[in-house]
């Protein structure tokens, strides 16, 4: 309609970010948004956005619907004696914007701090090694939580080699096999470090199977996971007397005896 002009659009982090941008541009207060103006500008901006990717578009469109709804409610006559702020159709949106704005301000503040390895530098910390097997446990040792185990798993997955480009035959490993492999490690060692359970050349599937086996063994109270400090090495020890006893306890459950999941593909070949 009007003369097309090229507008360099700032990159918006979402509908709230875009709304705050419009509010600032119009020099109005969040607490008193001229909803008609802002809605029109919001919709206009959506059309201008060069490539609104589909994932993000939904969030912007929901906000557009909300704005139009508020705009329509603002047109309804308001009984005069009721002047509660909650009755303002804009109330909820206003709160949401204020809250987002506060966290956005914090985010700006964080970004302006002297960030380690960007603005300021320190020596690489000397890491104290994990306690050796047989060494008396330090008093600070606590049971590792699921979060700790997941952190450690992330560490292992990060170290995995990048996936090779050529086709490799898929090696299936069941959790049952993984349990046996894990237990075998305790035949000649009292304690095994978490990371040591995962061979550097292990595939992602092997790592996952081993991790699941580990969780299962901890759940069955066959193994114990302990850690001296956050992100420190997680040491695994047998919670039962011998490997044989551990194997026995696992076997009693008999959960992994069937190699389920390996035969399912056969039917499709016809």
């Amino acid at each position: 309609m009007t003369v097309p002009c090229t507008v360099r659009l700032p990159i918006f982090e979402g509908p709230l970010d875009l709304l705050l941008h419009l509010i600032k541009r119009n020099e109005v207060q969040v607490s008193d948004i001229p909803i008609a103006t802002i809605t029109d500008q919001y919709l206009a901006t959506l059309e201008e956005l060069p490539e609104l990717n589909l994932d993000g578009a939904g969030e912007y469109l929901v906000m557009a619907a909300t704005l139009v709804y508020i705009k329509s409610r603002m047109l309804l006559p308001v009984p005069e004696e009721e002047d509660e702020p909650e009755d303002d159709p804009r109330h909820e949106l206003m709160q949401q914007l204020l809250e987002y704005q506060r966290y956005r301000d914090v985010a700006v503040g964080l970004g302006e701090r002297a960030v380690l390895d960007r603005d300021v530098f320190a020596r690489d910390p000397e890491r104290l090694g994990p306690p050796r097997p047989g060494e008396p446990a330090e008093p600070a040792v606590r049971d590792a939580s699921l979060g700790d185990l997941l952190d450690a798993l992330r560490g292992v997955l990060r170290r995995l080699r990048p996936p090779p480009v050529h086709e490799v035959p898929r090696e299936e490993i069941s959790i049952g096999q993984a349990v046996e492999r894990v237990l075998a490690r305790f035949a000649d060692a009292e304690a095994v470090e978490f990371a040591a359970l995962f061979a550097p050349e292990a595939t992602r599937a092997e790592v996952i199977a081993t991790f699941l086996a580990l969780l299962e063994l901890i759940r069955l109270r066959v193994l114990r996971a302990q850690q001296a400090e956050r992100f420190g090495a997680i040491m695994l020890t047998l919670a039962v007397a011998t490997v044989a006893e551990a194997a026995g306890r696992v076997h009693d459950l008999g959960r992994w005896s069937g190699e389920e999941g390996q035969h399912g593909d056969g039917d499709r070949d016809r």
Partner: protein
């Protein structure tokens, strides 16, 4: 360099290292602490310093830390002594960043706006779920949370006792280290930010009082008295 020379001249026969460790002269304390902090690299809590020094009292160590901090600031040295993540650490001053970066040839860590915003929300509301973060930012948080987990700036601290048992996220010790924060209470209270705007909305003030940052993350660091407030007395 200069400091080491100074120590040598002051203590010419410093061969009996082990005996020297038994008694620490107070005058030597700042330089000794400097050595410990240099050797450690990572932030060291004051209790750990007291333990390693084995002799001087905590308040003497604290005084030496203060003296050391001031001497670094005053003399315009190439290091600063900063309080971070519940401990003390030697770091290069901000102004020297361009040269250090050129030497290390490493790209500075990227901190995007979504990352910073998500971190801000997690820092103040922890433990909080992904859905709570998304409610504040109005956009999906899956990808950015995964990045933050990889960078160890947030961690999974548990599961919420709610339908679906969603994961709860919290900030890490590395978060404090990266942003040079002594502890979580060093973050400004949300009420301080944008106070003027909130005044118009009575509900939000109540809300803001409830979302001040939690006292300490409990990452195995010791309380250093910084920002730790005694609970309000019921006089």
């Amino acid at each position: 360099m200069e400091t080491e020379t100074a120590i040598d001249s002051e203590y010419p026969n410093s061969n009996g290292h082990d005996q020297a460790a038994a008694q620490v002269e107070l005058g030597r304390l700042p330089a000794l602490i400097e050595s410990l902090l240099f050797a450690a690299g990572a932030p060291v809590g004051i209790s750990r310093l007291v333990e390693a020094l084995d002799g001087p009292e905590r308040r003497e160590v604290a005084a030496a830390l203060k003296a050391l901090t001031e001497s670094y600031d005053r003399d315009g040295r190439g290091l600063r002594l900063v309080q971070v993540a519940g401990g003390y650490q030697l770091r290069t001053p901000h102004e020297h960043a361009p040269w250090v970066r050129r030497l290390l040839r490493e790209r500075p860590p990227r901190l995007s706006r979504p990352m910073l915003e998500t971190l801000a929300i997690v820092a103040y509301r922890q433990p909080c779920t992904r859905v709570e973060i998304e409610a504040v930012r109005g956009v999906e948080a899956d990808a950015v949370l995964s990045t933050l987990l990889d960078r160890r700036l947030v961690r999974i601290v548990g599961r919420k006792d709610a339908p679906g048992r969603p994961l709860l996220y919290g900030t890490t010790r590395e978060f404090l280290e990266v942003f040079g924060l002594p502890d979580l209470s060093a973050l400004p209270t949300l009420r301080e930010l944008g106070e003027a705007e909130i005044l118009g909305s009575p509900e939000l003030v109540v809300d803001a009082a409830g979302v001040r940052p939690p006292a300490v993350n409990g990452e195995g660091t010791e309380p250093d008295g910084t920002g730790a407030e005694p609970p309000g007395d019921t006089g």
